[in-house]
């Protein structure tokens, strides 16, 4: 018999119970007659505090709250991918089937389909001794991904009996295990895991491989490692969501968990539509086959918004345990922080900066620290990378969420309003953004792309930095009075900005660019710079150089050279040589 408590007070999503009914902290409870889902967040001897994940309108004092005996958890089993859930892992398409267009309260649906039979291949047999987290079976979950069924991280033992390959539901018993204490345990595909507890791993590695996104400014200038963390801060309209969509579409992660946390409903619909139609260039399957969406739009209950990030993280860790590289898009962590603030306010806690609770920083760090490249308990290697959007109030990066996030992430992709106004996308500001992974990833670039890659990258950044200090002068006196070598820097910086950093997400070739082409583009731009500099040092004025269309040609390489025709770059090198010779000849 489950424990029950009696409601005596209601304030928005926070409900107070009389006395102490014996609930645990973070226990999941059912509130009131409509069985709304809630979580215990405070216990004293005379009062229990519960946050409710659904709208509390209509609840009366005196109604009962029933405990479930376990913390708020997600169900982990095949069927998670190619699906869309709310913040506490309820499938939205199932809710739509029973409830229609709107999401009503107290809906009781299973997280995953319990009746679907999955083609299962057992990888262990009778007599095997299994360690915690061992892979026991393989299930083709979607066309792209094989789901590896594992023992829960806290279970090990000796296989007394195993079923043969065949079709099973997630509730069918696959193994009978003898535990170390001698008792028997039936193992099914499904396991539950509390969302606020990180799943255990064997070892954590430093970052050594980049998460390749196909976005030039990210891959070349500010790379993120697999298992890394990045923040994308920007005011409204600067393209946070677009950046996240692009990474979700084109990055080389195996699995994408997209968390729409307190954002627009239409955006989730768009992801759902687009990802079902778009095809993953690597596997040829729809992108949805490797994607799970967690949608808690801004008008859905605020407490579930707070939980949605943790639900998404737990799903990500589960796939990491199978040996996959998982990338989480959290859009937006500011909405999550605001949910914290709202609940904290209802609990009448003492506020710190701007009304946010004092534990904002520790919650953020706990969140980002769940990322990482690890060796799992079962010996496989996997990673969770977190890319969190931040929506600073008024676009001001000095506010608490941005500042605290900056302390715990190692990549900072700052979106800039003035770039967005000029429709320079992605509007990532190259001077204020940074990546701490650069030195750790340098060996990878040297081995896998080209040994000059990092050097070229640094040269480009140097040109851009010079441009920015020159622009200070230009703003005061105009560009005409600059000496020719400085004019050249401005011109080359323009080539880099327009021809390299700017990337058109709606252009078929330009939306995702392989590293090899990124390198070639850098090479051509820097070669043009080198040749032009020689000309200038010989006394040729910039105005003569600019008569040649070569600068515009290099800018449009991104559109003119298809991603699989890297041989065309040789021609550009020749054209630059010809440009050099022509200028010399004409002005000799």
């Amino acid at each position: 018999m489950n424990k029950t408590g009696i409601i005596y007070g209601i304030n928005g999503p926070v409900v107070y119970l009389q006395g102490d009914p014996g609930f645990q902290m973070n226990e999941m409870v059912y509130v009131g007659r409509q069985n709304l889902v809630g979580e215990v967040i405070g216990l004293t001897s005379d009062r229990t505090t519960v946050q409710v994940y659904e709208e509390t309108s209509g609840i009366k004092p005196g109604e009962t709250v029933t405990g479930t005996g376990s913390p708020v958890s997600v169900t982990l089993a095949p069927g998670i991918l190619n699906n869309i859930f709310d913040g506490i892992e309820r499938p939205l398409s199932e809710i739509a089937k029973t409830e229609g267009a709107y999401i009503s309260r107290g809906v009781s649906v299973d997280s995953l389909d319990h009746s679907k039979k999955w083609q299962t291949h057992l990888t262990v047999k009778k007599g095997d001794q299994l360690l915690p987290g061992s892979i026991i079976a393989e299930v083709p979950e979607t066309h792209a991904i094989v789901h590896k069924v594992m023992l829960p991280p806290n279970v090990d033992g000796y296989v007394l009996d195993a079923v043969s390959d065949g079709e099973y539901t997630i509730d069918d018993v696959l193994l009978t295990l003898q535990l170390p204490d001698g008792s028997e345990k039936k193992i099914t595909m499904a396991q539950k895991w509390p969302i606020r507890v990180p799943r255990p791993t064997a070892k954590r590695f430093p970052a050594t491989k980049p998460l390749i996104t196909g976005q030039r400014i990210l891959d070349t200038l500010f790379p993120i490692a697999k298992g890394g963390t990045a923040a994308v801060p920007g005011g409204f309209g600067t393209g946070k969501t677009m950046t996240q969509h692009q990474i979700a579409k084109w990055s080389d992660a195996d699995i994408i968990i997209y968390i729409g946390c307190g954002e627009r409903g239409n955006e989730m619909t768009q992801v759902l539509e687009e990802f079902t139609q778009l095809v993953d260039p690597k596997s040829g399957n729809p992108l949805m086959d490797r994607t799970t969406l967690i949608a808690n739009t801004s008008n859905m209950p605020v407490a579930a918004r707070e939980a949605s990030l943790y639900s998404g993280l737990t799903l990500a860790e589960y796939y990491r345990d199978m040996g996959y590289h998982v990338a989480i898009m959290a859009d937006s962590t500011s909405r999550w922080a605001e949910a914290l603030r709202e609940l904290s306010g209802r609990l009448e806690e003492m506020p710190a900066e701007e009304g946010f609770p004092a534990y904002l920083a520790s919650r953020l760090s706990a969140f980002y620290e769940r990322a990482g490249m690890v060796r799992n308990l079962n010996g496989t290697e996997g990673s969770v990378s977190i890319i969190g959007a931040v929506s600073p109030q008024g676009g001001d990066f000095s506010e608490p969420v941005t500042q605290n996030t900056k302390r715990f992430v190692r990549c900072f992709w700052a979106l800039d309003k003035s770039l967005a106004y000029a429709r320079h996308y992605p509007a990532i500001q190259w001077l204020t953004s940074y990546s701490e992974y650069l030195s750790e990833l340098a060996p990878w670039y040297t081995d896998n792309v080209d040994r000059r890659f990092v050097d070229y990258r640094n040269q480009m950044v140097y040109i851009l930095t010079q441009e920015s200090s020159l622009m200070e002068i230009v703003k005061l006196i105009g560009a005409d009075v600059l000496p020719d070598d400085q004019k050249l820097i401005l011109e080359i910086a323009k080539v880099i900005r327009v021809g390299f950093l700017q990337q058109n997400a709606f252009h078929q070739e330009d939306t995702c660019v392989p590293l090899s082409k990124q390198f070639k583009m850098m090479e051509v731009i820097l070669y043009l710079y080198k040749k032009s500099r020689t000309l200038i040092s010989m006394g040729m004025p910039m105005s003569v150089l600019k008569q040649d269309p070569i600068f515009d040609k290099v800018i449009s390489i991104k559109y003119d050279v298809p991603n699989d025709r890297l041989d065309m770059f040789d021609d550009y090198m020749k054209q630059i040589d010809k440009f050099y010779d022509d200028v010399l000849e004409r002005n000799a």
Binding site: G9, S57, G235, N266, T269, R341, G355, D480
Partner: protein, 463 residues
């Protein structure tokens, strides 16, 4: 269960405390009778055992601890909805004030609505022609979108909204059922009257339901006016398959009202004294725009808000911008140059535009033209900044061209007559004419093929 409770235990601003209640529910509506005659409505916003904190909609004037009778209604705030509400005028809590009698219908809906399931939404794609170049060309309005107008006091946002209503309603698709739900929160009498007259003059008033909460009406009423309006809009759109345009003005008053109530509840404020849940509350309103899959209706929202001190980073426009799908920003200096509509296109944005324009919707070159105009106009700003330091004469020839372009762009593209209704093709052609003022090498956002087809240098075009 018609128990009436006599008396109150405290009154504080718009909030009253009632003790000894039984069986009261959170968010329930109560009816109060003051002095035996005056009726008021209230809502339970907090409840502890037998003590309920009630927010009184019509204000607490005249209420005393002893003269009030309170009766629980047993349900949250509901409104009777019907198609016959079109052509009628109501106060801020949905009671008719046009003297034409009550609305009779069996359908009562909870004004809080329920969140639309993202799975059942349909991504909006059909554009609405407003006949205004700056909007159609650069920040295209899409059916099912929420596109606010960020304005300032004294700027012509009302005229702009009225022009959108008139011209959008008279568009090519006027055979489809089209209606307007207008909600005014804390507006001046003249503003409400302006809209009423405009609707009458343009002959759409039989398709308009107006909910009016004037500046001197009770503040708490304002908190539910938009919810009532949107409940009606959702009913007409998703039950009666109509295309509904909702105008909400002024969202700033709505947010101010929330701050007032929050502070009298003694809540911990976050930014500028606004409660921490301002974002959630605004989202609960704005997110009620959209299209439901399989239903031939839509709710399009044009909220208007005045930015306090023209500051776009103030919490109200800031949070709004994070929820809505873009914004149209009005600019005081353009208005000072007598340019109507004074839309500052650079910070203006329509997020849904990219999927609703181009081939099959407007014209294939639309996106290119828009991008190029944005990019060129951004450079105009740089050129102007430079000119203000070194003087116009010292500018390079290309910068001078940009100055000319900027001026022409503001006058001929952005600027138009208040009754001028341009087609999308006219708008794009004006765009190309303006781009013709610049040398072709400056146009780096347009595909070469498109340039070949449309680009004509200005001198050539004159011949």
């Amino acid at each position: 269960m018609a128990i009436e409770y006599l008396g109150l235990s405290a009154i504080n601003g718009p909030l009253v405390v009632l003790e000894g209640v039984q069986d009261a529910a959170y968010d329930e509506i109560v009816e109060m009778t003051v002095n035996g005659k005056e009726k008021k409505l209230g809502r339970i916003i907090e409840i502890y055992k037998d003590k309920a904190i009630i927010q009184v909609f019509e204000g607490t004037e005249g209420m005393a601890l002893r003269n009030t009778h309170t009766r629980l209604t047993g349900h949250p705030m509901e409104i009777t909805v019907s198609e016959s509400m079109l052509g009628r005028t109501f106060n801020g809590i949905g009671q008719p004030i046009d003297g034409l009698g009550d609305i009779i219908s069996d359908i009562k809906l909870d004004i809080n609505g329920k969140p639309l399931n993202p799975v059942t939404r349909e991504y909006p794609r059909n554009y609405i022609r407003t006949g205004i170049s700056a909007i159609d060309g650069l920040t295209t309005l899409i059916r099912g979108q929420k596109l606010p107008i960020f304005s300032g006091n004294g700027l012509p946002h009302d005229q702009l909204a009225a022009q959108i209503v008139q011209q959008a309603s008279l568009g090519e698709d006027s055979d489809e059922e089209f209606a307007i739900v207008f909600a005014a929160m804390g507006v001046k009498y003249d503003v409400a009257d302006f809209f009423r007259r405009t609707f009458e003059e343009s002959g759409v008033s039989s398709h308009v339901a107006m909910f009016i909460n004037l500046a001197n009406d009770p503040v708490v009423e304002r908190l539910i006016t938009p919810k009532i309006a949107l409940t009606l809009a959702e009913y007409l759109a998703f039950e009666k398959s109509m295309h509904i345009l909702v105008i909400l003005t002024d969202m700033t008053s709505f947010a101010e009202a929330m701050r007032e109530v929050s502070s009298s509840k003694g809540e911990i404020p976050s930014r500028k004294g606004f409660p921490g849940y301002l974002y959630s509350e605004l989202a609960a309103i704005y997110e009620r725009a959209g299209i439901v899959e399989g239903i031939n209706g839509s709710v399009t929202q044009i909220p208007i808000l005045t930015m306090p001190n023209d500051d776009i980073t103030h919490p109200i426009p800031d949070l709004t911008g994070y929820i809505t799908e873009g914004q149209i920003v009005l600019d005081r200096s353009l208005y000072g140059q007598s340019i109507y509509p004074p839309i500052n296109v650079l910070p203006s944005l329509s997020r849904l535009m990219k999927d609703g324009i181009g081939e099959g919707y407007t014209r294939a070159d639309h996106q290119d033209v828009a991008n190029q105009l944005f990019s060129c106009y951004a450079k105009v700003g740089d050129a102007r900044a430079l000119a203000s330091v070194i003087g116009e004469d010292e500018l390079s020839p290309i910068d001078k061209k940009y100055l000319e372009f900027g001026k022409a762009f503001e006058q001929h593209f952005i600027g138009q007559d208040i009754h001028e209704n341009r087609t999308i093709l006219q708008t794009l052609d004006i765009g190309w004419q303006l781009l013709g003022m610049l040398p072709r090498t400056e146009l780096d956002r347009i595909d070469t093929k498109v340039l070949d087809q449309y680009y004509k240098p200005a001198e050539e075009a004159e011949q």
